[in-house]
Symmetry: C2
Subunit: 311 residues, 2 copies
């Protein structure tokens, strides 16, 4: 059944029926607004939008994949402040001929990804549009912590990273060349695996700055460097290129470090810590903060694209 | 300069520079997420999306008008819960050839409307898209009140309304027939005048149910009737059709009660109150809650369209 046939209110009812309600939702979907717990008297909030043809393709990703990705992009932003996500709101714009099941499966993906952190979809809106668009807002709870912003990095800090980089970009390149394997790369593009818990963990460890790597490590650390008025130098040998990525890069004629250093959408967390902090194993030291400006690799500018622009 | 030439980060910087920061914004735009006060340990949140060609036309409304409308639609949802808005987040999808000034003026409209209630734009996202789309999320503070939901109306309650109805629908009809006057109607369509303070006021007066009239009074009271398991009967003589609306209706061959009873987007607030509550003058009693189901006018079904669907 097309969304036009299901009708706006019919489709909303079908979608709401599939969504689990999380423990932070004091009032879930169905009213003018939702009510969500904000236990420490503050709420963290972030919005990200996915547009068909720019951020996803329906022939590359299932609706459920898109739901996972849209949720992950937003939940990672909450984690990157040192907070725990509590809720999602979703504005969905759909072509009239879209199968209503696509919207339902999108909701399943959003709900499942949110459930990984105990959050849930608490509200949203739907409209017709010629362009399939998913705009998500995530809310989160700092649980008494100070937010970890982009402006706090200081010369002498170490730069560390938690999570994968380059996988989603490699998967995107593989798909855009018409291939469907290696599966590990394509799956990483379809559904990022985000270390959400590492965000609050980094805050508790005294991270001086933190960012969600969504535009690429060089671009995002560039935001940290600019915001903090410092330079960041990465060590190329801190980034191991896994075998399947190396093989795919060789087959496709790509420098795999372009994926690793400039590829976004794995939603790794990058943070700066005071020198000497004992980091748990999932955090890898990949560089250092210096006096100066800009981001370098082994002391030199990186020779390649540095991140994604969305126009 | 086109948005493509300004670039994603350039345009974001230009827009952020124009946005005032409200007192509830503990951390405003520019980081992974914003941090907003939620003083009573809860946050109210709602999302509404406006799509060009469906919710607005660039030849009918300035960018600033669209900003006002997009903000108003969301802020009214917060008010309709009995809460005071604190913050907006905005996802903006723009065609590459859009003039960057359009985005800047949109931000001005969003910021000005939010400032009416002491709120501000705290974050957002931007993407290219073939369809100009503005998705807004509003946050609000219940200040210790219980949220006023749609499910609390009881037989014997009075139905009251605060704000205008029919003006925006009349203005839309006027514009769609190629006219630009009467100004009062066209302006009402371009920038709704919402009685935001009436939301918390109604909650404090003991409102049993409340809703933002965005789909039309009959449709929205239908949501209250269905949610509460009651019937709502409106008195036609409670709705005075102002002269300019009556004249426009006559000239265009429209029943003005279709605008008043089925027209959305003025964002009036409709609420139910226990019988005998003394209401301030801006609240007008327009009907009563009965046992039963559905919405009637003078005891009979309304003979005309009952509201807007968005596909």
């Amino acid at each position: 059944m097309s969304v036009a046939k299901a009708g706006e209110f019919g489709l909303i009812a079908r979608v709401i029926a599939r969504l689990p309600v999380g423990s932070s939702a004091l009032l879930g979907p169905g009213d003018d607004a939702a009510v969500v717990k904000a236990a420490d008297g503050r709420v963290v909030a972030s919005t990200d939008v996915l547009v068909e043809g720019r951020h996803f393709r329906r022939d590359w990703c299932t609706a459920k994949d898109v739901g996972h990705r849209a949720a992950a992009a937003n939940l990672a932003d909450i984690a990157a402040m040192g907070a725990t996500p509590t809720a999602l709101l979703v504005a969905l714009c759909v072509p009239a001929n879209l199968d209503a099941r696509w919207a339902e499966e999108l909701a399943d993906g959003l709900g499942e990804e949110a459930a990984l952190v105990g959050a849930s979809v608490v509200g949203g809106d739907m409209s017709g549009s010629t362009t399939l668009t998913v705009a998500v807002t995530a809310l989160g709870d700092l649980q008494g912590r100070s937010p970890v912003v982009r402006t706090g990095a200081r010369p002498g800090d170490v730069v560390a990273m938690c999570g994968r980089v380059g996988y989603a970009a490699a998967g995107y390149t593989v798909l855009s060349r018409g291939f469907r394997t290696p599966k590990v790369l394509v799956d990483a593009y379809r559904r990022p695996e985000v270390q959400y818990g590492a965000g609050p963990e980094a805050a508790d460890l005294g991270a001086t700055a933190m960012i969600d790597v969504s535009d690429g490590l060089l671009a995002d650390l560039g935001h940290v460097a600019k915001g903090s008025g410092v330079a960041v130098d990465l060590r190329r040998d801190a980034f191991e290129v896994p075998r399947q990525m190396r093989d795919a890069a060789y087959a496709l004629g790509v420098d795999p470090y372009t994926w690793v250093l400039a590829g976004g959408e794995d939603h790794a967390l990058a943070a700066t810590f005071p020198e000497g902090v004992a980091l748990p194993p999932r955090w890898r030291v990949v560089g250092a903060v210096r006096e100066g400006t800009g981001v370098t690799v082994d002391g030199k500018p990186f020779n390649g694209p540095t991140g994604w622009q969305h126009f």
